[in-house]
């Protein structure tokens, strides 16, 4: 795409660059956001390098050493199969984050397309958004149960359920911010230049909605992890021997009084990750909102 055929593009980059810098500066000036960011980075690194960081085999059991408390057998003890908790937590984090990522990406993409279509083509808006309202009225847990009943429990079932639950939320956010952008003069200008619909959406509408999408995705990621853990806790998610934080918390609940660490540790990890994503999302929203800027 040359700048000659796209005269409106020339004044975009400097503004965008300046904004990006100020957003980053604002984010880093917030202590909470810094800690949250650090935790998220740490979690992602831990998950990514789990096979190298883990002290033991995540799937090898040791029935002679089950439910050992932290400190007695490995730093964080062992679970009901005698597996090292550190190893299980790292691999569990990996599954949980992947599950979250997959469902947010799939649900976000579909929801985004629907949102843009609804905003750009007013004729489709009524039908699409009512459809979204229907989807919105089903709790994600119910979707999970239904999908697990049809396809059998497993990670794909949870990802599908969470993606479907994400679609209407994403569609609403995208449609809302796209409607605002579509009122702008430069859209009118682009249209009068005869640019195609897809071109206008991808080139002018999408970039200007990105901040809203970014905030939504970050916040949603935390929610999806929580929901996914809940579905796994109910036995619909990761199947053994796959480690998953929600399923790990469920495994330990039968011995809660005698070996609390089996349930408590994965629950703490879930709590910290979700909190970090929420704090980060809030900070991002503040940073990206021009009205809140000092």
């Amino acid at each position: 795409m040359s700048s000659v055929s796209d005269p409106l593009q020339q004044n975009l980059p400097p503004v965008a660059v300046a904004r990006r810098v100020s957003v980053l500066r604002m984010l880093l000036s917030d202590v909470g956001a810094c800690i949250a960011l650090a935790l998220v980075v740490l979690a992602v690194l831990g998950a990514a390098f789990a096979p190298w960081l883990s002290p033991t085999d995540p799937y090898g059991n040791d029935l002679a050493n089950t439910l050992k408390p932290p400190g007695e057998f490995g730093l964080l003890g062992t679970d009901g199969q005698g597996r090292d908790m550190i190893t299980r937590l790292l691999f569990g984090l990996r599954t949980t984050l992947l599950m979250g990522l997959a469902s947010v990406v799939i649900g976000g993409l579909i929801g985004g397309v629907i949102g843009f279509a609804a905003a750009y083509y007013p004729r489709l808006s009524g039908l699409l958004m009512r459809l979204m309202d229907v989807l919105l009225s089903f709790p994600a847990i119910l979707f999970g149960l239904a999908i697990a009943a049809i396809f059998g429990p497993g990670l794909p079932a949870v990802i599908i359920a969470l993606a479907i639950a994400t679609i209407p939320l994403m569609a609403r956010v995208v449609r809302g911010s796209a409607l605002v952008v579509l009122q702008q003069g430069y859209i009118e200008a682009a249209r009068s230049l005869g640019l195609g619909d897809l071109h206008i959406i991808l080139r002018y509408v999408l970039p200007n909605c990105l901040s809203a999408i970014f905030v939504f995705v970050t916040l949603r990621f935390g929610q999806v992890i929580l929901l996914g853990a809940a579905l796994s806790f109910l036995g619909l998610g990761a199947q053994p021997p796959t480690a998953e934080l929600g399923a790990m918390a469920a495994d330990g609940r039968n011995f809660l009084f005698f070996a609390p660490h089996v349930s408590v540790l994965p629950s703490i990890v879930i709590f910290v990750i979700v909190l970090a994503f929420n704090v980060l999302g809030d900070a991002l929203r503040d940073a990206l909102d021009p009205k809140l800027r000092k």
Binding site: N61, L63, G80, Q81, P241, R253, L256, F257, F258, P260
Partner: protein, 528 residues
């Protein structure tokens, strides 16, 4: 750690204590805790253990089973004779038996109840247990049970709750709601009130003095019994500790040692409890049809370690196909059962042509050594399956686990989608268990193995129709040997029965027929 556990327990106990206000001055009823309720308490309409354990208290059977699970003792019948051809049983009824409403029991009531069990209109899921009935009739004070062919299991089947004697008038009055809105039997306790999924209240049958001779005192000694449901096992444990309840045999195994250390608490085990856990193979699926695979699985799985770990030191591994405590168990099968030896299992697979693939999983002729196991998602299956999965991975077999919620599990277990399955089941004799699971007419359920073998069928038939106890033992022993050799099952563990009773209770003894831990509930006394 111990201190933290104690702290948590104390906290939970006090929370449970706060939840329910203390009972009034009157001697509180005996409260028995369990984790699940039954759908109904009609003896012939429910197969649930949760129904049986209460029906045994509400109603009586012609004969009873002793604590050894092998000896038949009198019940409503004070004596009985069997004709030489094994086809006619005559039960001489005890005199003076009354229903809860005071009406004397007659031989016609017995005939009515037994005929109701096999009535095609009732569609009882347990009608097959009555055997090939020709006729059941009353002659004086005797009930004649006539068969088309001998049925060696009959007395044991007649001792099960399904063969309970019930009152015809109440059954006809309540119809489908018999065992839901009311009950009238000749048991030691009478129906008062049922709040589904919460509690079932029973009161003493004032006329009852015909308890089976396996008890010291034939009369019930408690005025009121409440069967309470607490679905969450940690809460159940806290309630027992807080003395909110007196007796349970659903205590989580992990808590038994702690309970044993508590002053006044009695914790006892029924050694002859027959409730087995096994994994069965479908013998016509690509991988599991290979006997080498099945045998290797039996060798690779460390059953001792699993039985110990899963039941927290309280479980025992099954030495072969069936439970050693059961009638007609064949001791010689122990030698036939492959011993735990992963190295030998690997060698066996090598010799059978299953060579390790790039990912560590074995292959033969392009077929991966992978199979899928189905099961119910209960307390034990998730842990047993994961432990087995790890053991099998070590010898290059990939076992995929798919556990289902109890609501859909039975439907899934009736399909041909899986290669192996987990099952726990109570039974009374070897002949009953193997006829149920291995007769070719029982395909697809409960013969989920798809085991169709003329020799097995013939031996099963011989055992079932044997008139002579020795002949039956030989025939059913031969079946056990054949099936052990075929490695159709991976016998895992005998699920232990432990009864925990608080300091207010005296005389509790674990029985456990068909999962009913307290059986008639006689000899139990309350100190205060």
């Amino acid at each position: 750690m111990t201190r933290l556990t104690a702290l948590l327990l104390a906290g939970a106990a006090s929370a449970a204590a706060l939840a329910t206000p203390a009972a009034a001055q009157q001697k509180a009823p005996l409260t028995i805790l369990r984790i699940i309720d039954a759908d109904r308490y009609d003896p012939v309409r429910s197969t649930a253990t949760a129904a049986a354990e209460v029906v045994y208290m509400l109603a009586d059977t012609l004969v009873t089973v002793d604590f050894d699970m092998k000896t038949i003792k009198p019940g409503l019948a004070e004596s009985w004779t069997v004709s030489p051809d094994g086809k006619t049983y005559s039960f001489k009824l005890r005199k003076g038996v009354k229903f809860c409403d005071g009406r004397p029991m007659t031989p016609d009531d017995v005939v009515y109840s037994l005929k109701r069990w096999i009535d095609p209109a009732i569609k009882s899921p347990v009608a097959f247990r009555a055997g090939p009935v020709k006729d059941i009739r009353a002659e004086g004070d005797t009930v004649i049970y006539e068969l088309k062919e001998p049925y060696s299991d009959l007395l044991f089947q007649l001792a099960l709750s399904f063969a309970s004697v019930v009152d015809k008038d109440t059954v006809e009055k309540l119809g489908q709601n018999f065992g839901v809105q009311g009950f009238n039997g000749t048991g030691p306790y009478c129906w008062v009130k049922w709040t589904p999924r919460q509690e079932l209240v029973l009161k003493k049958n004032p006329y009852y003095d015909w308890g089976p001779p396996i008890y010291k005192n034939p009369k019930p000694q408690i005025d009121e019994i409440v069967w309470k449901v607490i679905p969450e096992s940690n809460t159940l444990m806290a309630a027992i500790q807080a003395k909110q309840a007196d007796v349970t045999y659903y205590m989580p195994y992990i808590a038994l040692d702690t309970m044993q250390r508590m002053p006044g608490m009695t914790v006892q085990r029924q050694e002859n409890y027959i409730y087995d856990v096994f994994m069965g193979f479908k013998v016509d699926k690509p991988v599991s049809k290979d006997k080498a695979i099945r045998e290797a699985v039996n060798m690779a799985v460390d059953k001792q370690a699993i039985a110990k770990a899963i039941f927290f030191g309280k479980g025992t591994a099954l030495p072969s196909l069936l439970n050693p405590a059961v009638l007609d168990y064949d001791k010689d099968t122990v030698a036939k059962m492959p011993k735990h030896d992963p190295a030998a299992a690997a060698k066996l697979l090598d010799e059978a042509g299953w060579k390790p693939g790039a990912d560590g999983i074995r292959e033969k002729d392009g077929q991966k050594a992978t199979f899928t196991v189905y099961g119910i998602r209960n307390d034990i299956n998730p842990r047993i399956s994961e432990a087995m999965q790890a053991d099998l991975r070590k010898i290059g077999i990939d076992m995929k686990i798919q556990l289902w919620d109890a609501t859909v599990a039975w439907g899934k277990l009736a399909t041909q989608e899986f290669d192996a399955f987990y099952m726990s089941y109570p039974y009374v004799t070897a002949t009953e268990a193997l006829n149920l699971y291995f007769a070719s007419r029982q395909v697809p359920t409960p013969n989920r193995m798809n085991w169709k073998d003329p020799k097995t069928d013939e031996l099963l038939k011989t055992a079932a129709t044997a008139v002579d106890a020795q002949k039956r033992k030989e025939a059913i022993g031969a079946v056990q040997m054949q099936l052990t050799d075929a490695n159709v099952w991976v016998p895992l563990a005998s699920q232990p029965l432990w009864v925990v009773a608080g300091d207010r209770v005296e005389g509790v003894r674990a029985h456990g027929i068909y999962g009913a831990g307290l059986y008639k509930g006689l000899d139990i006394k309350l100190k205060r």
